[in-house]
Symmetry: C2
Subunit: 176 residues, 2 copies
């Protein structure tokens, strides 16, 4: 950030009075430009014993596998975002059934929130951001070709829960 989005003047970096963090501040109009973590919302779409994964058609991690996920938009709920991303990336319609996990990724200032969702039918397909979409039994998850560390962490916990016959709500920090 170089310019004030409110008045167009140059911004400076300083700790505002009464604050504890360095912010971008406009000395001209006084606006403080807070920057905060972004929410990535994902869904583990379930069809019978399988889950639906997408091979990414975009950077970063083009060609690697992920659950349908993306940045939450203003004025939507977490659940709506999870269902929207599933439709956009995997052309599948899900009913969100439960919260699966909240994962903090401080290195990139993201919070990754995963849900489980039940596919209404076994229709699916590759959305614009996917090269390929497929149903996988947990034994066939492509562990060596997952797109992000959080995916490895989330799906490992998913498999463990499935083996235990009991789904928990997970939380952890992903630090790579």
């Amino acid at each position: 950030m170089k310019f004030c989005s409110h008045c167009g003047n140059h911004v400076t970096r300083k700790i505002p009075v009464g604050d504890a963090f360095i912010r971008f501040v406009c000395e001209q109009c006084g606006m403080i430009h807070y920057q905060n973590p972004k929410i990535v919302v994902g869904c583990i779409p379930e069809w019978k014993n399988d889950i639906l994964l997408c091979k990414r058609a975009i950077e970063p991690r083009l060609g690697l596998w992920t659950i349908p996920a993306g940045f939450m938009e203003n004025h939507e709920t977490l659940e709506a975002a999870a269902a929207r991303e599933t439709f956009e990336e995997a052309m599948a319609v899900v009913d969100i059934t439960s919260l699966f996990g909240v994962f903090s990724i401080p290195s990139v200032s993201q919070v990754y929130i995963m849900f489980r969702g039940t596919m209404r039918t076994n229709d699916y397909g590759a959305g614009e951001e996917s090269l390929e979409v497929g149903l996988f039994p947990v034994e066939a998850i492509p562990w060596d070709n997952l797109a992000f560390h959080v995916m490895h962490e989330g799906l490992s916990r998913y498999c463990q829960d499935k083996k235990d016959g009991r789904f928990q709500v997970h939380r952890s920090m992903i630090d790579r």
Copy 2:
């Protein structure tokens, strides 16, 4: 947003190619300025059978009661944010013990994430953003003077869980 924070030119509102949402876009440098929901992180600090609440010293809802809570900062974890806010607003040191709930507030594009935390000692006090801080048994929660709808929703569910002798992870939409 009126100006591009990257180059200082005026921004326009349009749907970028391949996107489905209206964004602020700079026609000069091409930057797309995404705006996403913010995360508010709160803690229900517990000391024996009581919980710690703060009377707000700042707007909005000055003079009304809340759990310690605030906007998550870049490069921190959810749990660190919850503990930091508890220290800043209530001068209490907590160990975060569990996730209590995730609440979507689409009307203001916020996601409110609440944890339970155990106070290490019964030391507490009013931080800069609090007029007063106090321990309350659940029977004495000031229901008519709570600061936000999400507080009413969260603390109602907390009381119910406590009565049931079993804490769940809650999720719901707050739509007022």
